[in-house]
């Protein structure tokens, strides 16, 4: 195999550097998740969003401007917010949009693409990222909740057990379906991690807790979230490092001259490399031989779906939804990049 050269030492450099870069951001996310768990009462979260569902989803797509997150940190936060009553459609939109529609990413994209139409590239990346995230949020809104959230998430929803059918200001249309939880309709996404890896805290218990108790609760929650998400970051970093060090990027070069294949090739690369959204623009800009639409697809698809996210999304969503999401995002973004973007020229 002339295109595959595995070397443990090179692999370990790449593996460690991805972890060193990702772990701090993931830790910030889990700390935030712990704070939300301990200090933000359930039901408060959804009152912050407008009651019109479409407006709420659209607003969720823009929240990254105020709360910038990269994709490692956003998963634990979203998982916590959904448990606190954030509508899943809004959660998914924030999850997809926040790593793209935020000021840090806008600046790094602009800086990376100087000399290659930085303004157009940056605005297209943010616009496409926002549009795709909102569309997917609106689609997920129409899917039964039991097919969206994995079983553990469903059981942890604020009114999953007690007030399952009570009226909610922002009612998921099919929330009532959550009542008949069956093992066939929902599956634990990746059963390799047993549910006890995280220990959940009762929301009800928090009202009686002192501030100190809440802080300890937040730290414990952050710690177990960290272990939970860290597990998937490790797997993702390891797979990405194999591709990063053992597979020659030049194997893609013959595809560069073909518009469609070039775009698909860079999107697959984005999936495999699992780069952080704050820095992927610099890598994308480096593919000089590839057309601009391919680079755009790389930068919109990568932050929404890559190997480590594929694993991490499994902590929130059903396995089926995670894979459907991956395929749908791939097709939609490829289509937009290949056929829509050239029209705008």
């Amino acid at each position: 195999m002339s295109w595959f050269h595995f070397n443990l030492q090179d692999f370990s450099i790449s593996f460690l550097s991805i972890l060193f870069e990702g772990v701090p951001f993931m830790f910030i996310g889990t700390l935030l998740s712990g704070v939300i768990d301990a200090f933000v009462p359930a039901e408060r979260v959804k009152r912050l969003l407008p009651s019109n569902r479409t407006a709420a989803v659209a607003l969720s797509g823009l929240l990254g401007v105020i709360f910038p997150m990269c994709e490692c940190g956003v998963v634990p936060v979203i998982r916590r917010l959904i448990r606190k009553g954030l509508p899943v459609s809004c959660g998914l939109t924030y999850l997809l949009a926040a790593p793209i529609v935020n000021p840090i990413v806008a600046l790094s994209t602009f800086a990376a693409f100087r000399g290659q139409h930085p303004g157009a590239m940056t605005s297209l990346r943010l616009t496409l990222g926002f549009a795709v995230a909102v569309v997917f949020g609106l689609i997920v809104q129409r899917i039964p909740l039991t097919e969206v959230l994995n079983r553990r998430m469903l059981s942890l929803l604020p009114n999953a057990r007690t007030r399952r059918n009570s009226s909610r200001p922002l009612k998921e249309p099919v929330l009532a379906v959550a009542g008949n939880l069956t093992t066939e309709s929902v599956s634990i996404a990746f059963p390799i991690v047993p549910p006890e890896t995280i220990m959940e805290l009762h929301d009800e218990a928090h009202h009686e807790k002192t501030f100190g108790g809440k802080v300890i609760g937040a730290i414990r929650c952050a710690a177990f979230d960290f272990l939970d998400v860290g597990f998937y970051l490790i797997i993702g970093a390891a797979i990405a490092s194999v591709f990063n060090t053992a597979v020659d990027r030049h194997v893609l070069l013959p595809l560069a001259s073909h518009h469609l294949f070039a775009t698909l090739a860079l999107m697959v690369l984005a999936l495999l490399l699992s780069l952080c959204s704050t820095s992927d623009a610099f890598i994308a800009a480096n593919f000089l031989a590839f057309p601009a639409s391919a680079k755009l697809a790389f930068m919109v698809f990568g932050p929404m779906m890559d190997l480590k996210l594929l694993f991490m999304y499994g902590l929130v969503f059903t396995k089926r939804l995670t894979f459907s999401l991956a395929i749908a995002l791939f097709v939609v973004i490829a289509t937009l990049a290949v056929w829509l973007v050239p029209l705008l020229r």
Partner: protein, 349 residues
């Protein structure tokens, strides 16, 4: 077993915190991460140790938990949770142990040596040879000699300030972008305006930051020479001048040119990092040497003193798919080549 089950989360966090802190304090982190991200690793390392202590001191009995779901934490170790903790603990420790501080020569060669500044993300803003469109060069240019100081100052800045620095870089670049950076993939980009800037009288350094050191050589980086290659204006600062340059020894030129290296020629390579070592891109210049140190292994660190010449490249696109156009290739005719110890900062940022 129950004690182990309770201690494992705490021990795992402790291990992660200890490894992050160790890499920061030992300086090994420099071989993995951009200076901007290093303080975050230290902060995370310390906070993880604190978290581990908290989790260890306040065992789960003191908290209220969700008890639903099959097999809760109190139920002991399951094969799944053992595997989860194994994966959380072992690969990190193993990688920390086996990881060297630099990639092997084979990987660097396979990734392909970049010999065009346009293929190096973010480089032009850092280059000492960055052009000054007006007569007054920007005062914030970084000198190779000052790089460690610059990096320390970057390292002190929190990630929140990343935005500001990028804004200032962007401002500087608006000027530079007008002059340079033609992109073959984008047909609308104008080209051929390289000569727009008025040249100074020959013999003076366009960039006052370029001053010979005590030995009469100008200290430069590989990336400076590559940057200057695309600019007739800046090239004058280097053409025929004696420079002092450090880098890693490589014999191959794969992926950049069909030309094979002849005689005692070799490539002097610096690894360029954008964020972390995973995105490493090697950049190199050709060294034409008459004599080399006897004991040279690929990726050995060298200090080369010699004269810079810009030579025309072969016409047509190179094997890496980039058309260099009229951009010449920097070559150093070496006067001396010496082994040196690996520097603390092995990457160019």
């Amino acid at each position: 077993m129950k004690i182990l089950r309770r201690a494992l989360p705490s021990l795992t966090l402790l291990e992660w915190g200890a490894i992050l802190s160790y890499f920061y304090f030992s300086g090994r982190l420099a071989s993995f991460l951009h200076p901007m991200f290093r303080p975050l690793v230290l902060a995370t390392g310390i906070l993880l140790v604190i978290t581990a202590i908290c989790v260890g001191l306040f065992p789960e009995e003191s908290c209220d938990h969700d008890h639903e779901g099959e097999g809760h934490a109190h139920g002991g170790l399951t094969p799944g949770s053992i595997l989860a903790f194994f994966l959380l603990i072992v690969p990190l420790a193993l990688a920390a142990k086996v990881s060297p501080d630099s990639y092997g020569a084979a990987l660097i060669e396979r990734r392909g040596l970049v010999q065009d500044i346009r293929s190096l993300p973010g480089m032009s803003s850092r280059s000492v040879a960055r052009p000054a469109p007006s007569a007054s060069p920007a005062p914030s240019l970084s000198l190779p000699a000052q790089t460690p100081a610059l990096q320390q100052s970057i390292a002190r800045t929190a990630a929140a300030q990343k935005q500001d620095s990028q804004q200032s870089i962007d401002k500087q670049l608006e000027q530079a972008a007008q002059q340079t950076m033609t992109e073959p993939g984008l047909p609308t980009q104008t080209s051929g305006n390289e000569d727009a800037a008025p040249g100074p009288s020959p013999g003076t350094y366009e960039n006052p930051a370029l001053q010979p050191n005590d030995s009469g050589n100008i200290p430069v980086q590989v990336t400076d020479l590559l940057y200057a290659a695309q600019e007739p204006f800046t090239r004058k600062d280097f053409e025929g001048k004696r420079v002092e340059i450090i880098g890693q020894y490589l014999t191959s030129k794969k992926g950049t040119s069909k030309q094979e290296l002849k005689g005692n020629s070799f490539m002097l390579v610096r690894l360029v990092m954008v964020c972390c070592a995973a995105d490493m891109i090697p950049a190199g210049v050709t060294i034409e040497a008459t004599k080399k140190p006897a004991h040279l292994r690929p990726t050995s660190w060298l200090k080369v003193v010699g004269q810079v010449h810009y030579r025309p490249r072969p016409k047509g696109p190179s094997p890496d798919g980039i058309d260099y156009g009229d951009t010449p290739e920097p070559v150093i005719e070496a006067v001396s080549v010496a082994n040196i110890a690996a520097p603390a900062e092995k990457y160019v940022y």
